[in-house]
Subunit: 250 residues, 2 copies
DNA sequence: CTTGCCCAATGTGTATACAATGGTATGTCG
DNA sequence: CGACATACCATTGTATACACATTGGGCAAG
């Protein structure tokens, strides 16, 4: 954003937060970070302010910065915000999508379809990479829709919410099989079916159908997340993100 | 937020932007502001970053900060964002409102009703204060609904958008009667009718009705704004805000 | 007269030194 | 022994000094 050092600090801290090296609630002292990064405290302060605007850290006067830690109330509110925006965006996408947008959405959907089928025949201990790829295509699907909505502000805002959500409390990838294989597979097929409905509505240009389908989809995601979070008693909800995921906000 | 000086600078610059003393596009040099406020450049820089996060200024590396100036594309996108959020919030309000929330909404509605009728019998050169009060009750109505929605994040976000909208391009209060009195009165009655519909839906707990009514309402506001903006050829779209309005973001 | 470059002036970005404040540990008194 | 007051310390907030990027104007060449 500004010059080299501010960006340096920003990227450094952001990555550390996003890949879990800095846990939610952990305090970030400017001095420590500045020597770690090799710059002075000033650009570090700037970076922290920026990250605060992103919603990744909180700053209190004279008490310093901490990695943001959202409570259940905030979490619910964020989910609802995401629901509002992303469903609306789906409605827009149905109206504004180009053929190219449609192809991109379709591609992501097809890829997910293939991967979902593939997983069924994959031994559980070898499915890690496939899951990773599935996640990636899932994100690609949602991003493709936001792009098709032709509203950059909305897209940016939604991506911001996605990112906070992922860092702050994540669905604990289904590898932690607190539920059995059959249920997980069923859920995956459910997601796929919802995606297909959303795609169909967007393809046909049915705005309200697309909106409602997306709303239902995200509501399901939220329900599932909450359920998983409730079952995992660990207070620590964050999960490291891959390099790829880290850069999915513009 | 932080300490005294940063807040000082933040409040000072923010007010100057919001009441129109600093026009959109105008450049903000840290040195000038710092001597004006009587602090050093550091807190000024901090304030500018904060204002950038609020969406009121833009900062470019080595080029400094300018009061934000949105083009038509951004303006449309912001309006749509507001539409998405505020209509959703109306739907939430229909589900979550308490009796007290309802009373507050109703009060604002009644006040607007009275003022709208009053205006008809007020000579055009004396209606200024009444218009001001009408605006205030209008804002109060919308805020009351956001409050009833019981989602602080959403409320904050909507208020942020409201504020940017007002500063950056405002409906040029109908005093600039580019249209005749009858049309303006008709529009006022239309707004009132829409508010009444929204209130009724919220009172009855009809979520989707409330949402759709709010969506229509805001769409009308946008349409009207765009029409007024189009008719006024002046490139300068900002309007000073009153002290009261300045502080309507928490 | 136009066009290109160079250079100075303006202003930002960064570092460092200093002031102010909150937290903590220690000591004293009830 | 416990509670409160106080003094110290760590860390943030602020100011200032310096380095460097951008911009605009002047000067020279075509």
């Amino acid at each position: 954003m500004k010059s080299v050092n501010s960006d340096l600090a920003y990227d450094y801290i952001r990555k550390r937060i996003l890949n879990g090296k800095l846990a939610p609630g952990q305090s970030l002292t400017t001095k420590t970070l500045s020597v770690e990064i090799g710059v002075s405290r000033t650009p570090v302060r700037d970076a922290l302010r920026q990250l605060e605007a992103d919603g990744l850290v909180t700053i209190q006067t004279h008490l310093g910065a901490r990695v943001r830690k959202v409570d259940l109330k905030e979490f619910r509110e964020m989910c609802l915000l995401r629901l509002a925006l992303e469903s609306f965006a789906a409605g827009l996408a149905a109206m504004n999508r180009t053929e190219e947008d449609l192809r991109e959405i379709s591609d992501a959907l097809d890829a997910m379809r293939g991967l979902t089928e593939l997983i069924v025949t994959t031994p559980m201990d070898k499915e890690g990479p496939v899951l990773e790829e599935l996640r990636r295509e899932d994100v690609r699907f949602h991003i493709a829709i936001m792009t098709a909505a032709k509203n950059d502000l909305m897209k940016t805002e939604i991506l911001r919410l996605h990112l906070i959500n992922r860092v702050v409390s994540t669905p604990v990838p289904e590898t932690e099989a607190s539920v059995n294989r059959k249920a997980v597979d069923a859920r995956r097929r459910g997601v796929l079916a919802e995606h297909a409905q959303i795609y169909a509505a967007i393809a046909k240009g049915e705005s309200t159908t697309a909106r409602d389908a997306m709303a239902k989809h995200i509501q399901d995601i939220i329900d599932n997340t909450v359920r998983v979070l409730a079952s995992s008693k660990s207070g620590r909800l964050s999960r490291p993100l891959t390099e790829e995921e880290l850069s999915y906000v513009p």
